[in-house]
Amino acid sequence: MRETPLSNCEREFILNFIAQQKRLDGRNAYDYRDLRIAFGVSLGCCHVELGKTRVLAQVSCEVGEPKQTRPHDGVLYVNVELSPMACPSFEQGRQSEEGIELSRLMERCLKESRCLDMESLCIVSGEKAWHVRVDIHVLNHEGNILDCASIAAISALAHFRRPDVSVHGEEITIHTLEDRNPVPLSLHHMPLLVSFAFFSQGKFMLVDPSSKEEKVMEGKMVVGMNKHRELCTLQVTGQMLLLKEQVLRCSSIALTKVTKITELIHEALDKDKQARLKGEKHGFAMLVSGDRVTANRLPTTEVKVDTLEISDEMERSQSSSEDGESQSGNEPMEEQIVATPKESAVEILTKGVGVIGEGGTSTWLDIPQADSKQTAAKKRKHKLEKMEEGIDDEGSSEEEEKVILK
């Protein structure tokens, strides 16, 4: 099913906003979204969340014949699966253009950068070698699948252990997992892809575009680097021309990002290793926190409200109400709220509803008759999705507004 297209006014709004050096979710131009890396119980399974985009990578291996042209090397397959689970516009089975582009970029990133030592995957030259397969499944598409997929693939390759092989003269034994501990793959370095979205013919650039920003972008550049300042991949798509300085600047930005992300990957790998050594709980069960009713977890958003500090009681009552406590549990909470009117700036309207701060005045302009249609009223769309918060829409644009109710 095809996606709903963005309305004209939404498109204009996002482009105007970007021209003012702001982003819809409040990030800076060079900020990544929250990155979470988790490993599964089975070796070589990695789940990465970049904001709401989720990608799962699984590495597997089997013994097969090496390629005729390279008898001393193993074989690496990379495959990116786009299913309707990620986005309704992806079709099952058929490889869309986007899917083919993603697969090719991932292949180039992993194979041509020679991050994996292919010679170590050879068992008997010309006869037997390891075929390593990286399957990348996109679970949710909220923009920038490529970065997420590259992080997942590299983490999975670093996490994976292949069965140990011992050669005694003519005899080759492939040990089972019970026989001998499996051996990690030899990764020389970790190439990671960083995506840049360009707007207004290259004037504005954003790192890690979300899905709305991807829909209005004019061009995209993908830079593959590792933390040793080595450039592995470079690809520019879209209808735009870039200056040399821009390309150089993007690669230096990519370097800082890649260094940070590589640290995160190593941290996550270490944590998983420690958990396995100590025999603690590890795997995807760690992603779901056990003391909450819902599995949904949202990052905290900072809100600038023109009042005093909110007292601790309010925060506690908020967090406990998220667990859906019973009616009796609410009584003591409300008493706490009433008991400290001076510290908290929350105005209680009715039972269970509080308001902080006052809304601003309407920003609709009183148009004099002879004015043109170009006076654009600012529309501030704050998308805070916390369950207990509602933000009033202030002002509106002149021409069209669109709200989708699910």
């Binding site: 019973s326 039972k351 269970g352 148009i367 009033d392 002149e398």
Partner: protein, 293 residues
């Protein structure tokens, strides 16, 4: 800016919202409809282990020997004669592809629109090249379904003067199942706004055009600035429509008008709060029941 905080436990429970009678034949995916094998399967059902199961959530409908399940929440399924509001997605050979929130893009043929110079003019090469000047990507149009093709794709036409490109106004997208098929879908409300209830769930609210004689079939869009009072009326109507849709009320001009009148005592932006919305819809429901009895 103001921030509203609501405790999860004080939200209205589901049973408070629905006051109608329970139809009694609602099924969810996987439910067994009947174990009798004498029925023919319709849409929304599948056969497993000699029993007929429902594959969508909805109401069971039976016509003689045909059992089908009509889903409660679905993409728009077009019928001939429906009024729809759509957005031009792309231009193709002698046609526009229009997005109408259905499973496939609808098609608006070049021969189905009113071009200036008379209705019976033959479409020439020039017309094809000028297509973008008339309707381009991102424009909103109101049209009628002329034909439903075998694969479910809708063919639209804007052959009457009341259809065509939409100018200034506000679009609200709701579920298609909340808009019934009626005699007219174009309503001029007495409060100074006009509303078009598209069968595909797109509602268009615009200020009333004063000069009826100037109807040009939507060929020219009026880009005169709209006074603030009119814009407030449109914003209030939009919030009323959203409130009605949130409480799953069927939409038609009378209930939208009642909702508008019931909402006058609140500020426009307060209508977005869930408590206020529920209150307004309750008032509308009571008034409709009074009128009905």
């Amino acid at each position: 800016m103001s921030v509203d905080i609501r405790l999860a436990s004080s939200r209205p429970a589901g049973t408070d919202l629905y006051h109608g009678e329970n139809p009694g034949n609602i099924v969810t995916p996987g439910d067994v409809i009947t174990a009798d094998s004498g029925f023919m399967r319709g849409h929304g059902t599948y056969m497993e282990d000699e029993c007929l199961h429902a594959s969508v959530a909805g109401t069971v409908e039976r016509v003689n020997k045909l059992i089908s399940v009509r889903p409660l929440k679905t993409r728009y399924n077009g019928e001939i004669g429906d009024v729809v509001i759509g957005r031009i997605r792309e231009l193709a050979q002698k046609r526009w592809k229009v997005e109408t929130h259905s499973r496939m893009d609808s098609v608006l043929m070049l021969s189905s629109v009113n071009l200036p110079g008379g209705e019976l003019r033959r479409r020439s090469e020039e017309d094809e090249k000028m297509m973008r000047h008339y309707l381009k990507e991102g424009d909103l149009i109101s049209a009628e379904v002329q034909n439903v093709m075998s694969d479910g794709c809708l063919s639209l036409h804007t052959r009457s003067l009341k259809y065509g490109k939409l100018g200034q106004g506000c679009l609200v997208c709701i579920s298609p199942s909340l808009v019934l098929r009626r005699k007219t879908h174009f309503h001029n409300l007495p409060i100074g706004a006009s509303i078009i209830l598209g069968n595909n769930g797109f509602i268009w609210i615009s200020p009333t055009v004063q000069d009826k004689s100037e109807e040009s079939g939507g060929y020219e869009t009026n880009l005169q600035p709209i006074p603030k009072l009119d814009r407030e009326v449109i914003a209030r109507l939009r919030n009323c429509v959203l409130a009605l849709a949130e409480c799953k009320m069927l939409l038609f001009d009378t209930c939208i008008l009642y909702a508008y009148e019931a909402s006058l005592k609140y500020a426009v932006k307060d209508l977005l709060k869930p408590e206020v919305a529920v209150e307004v819809v309750d008032l509308v429901r009571q008034r409709l029941e009074l009128e009905g009895s």
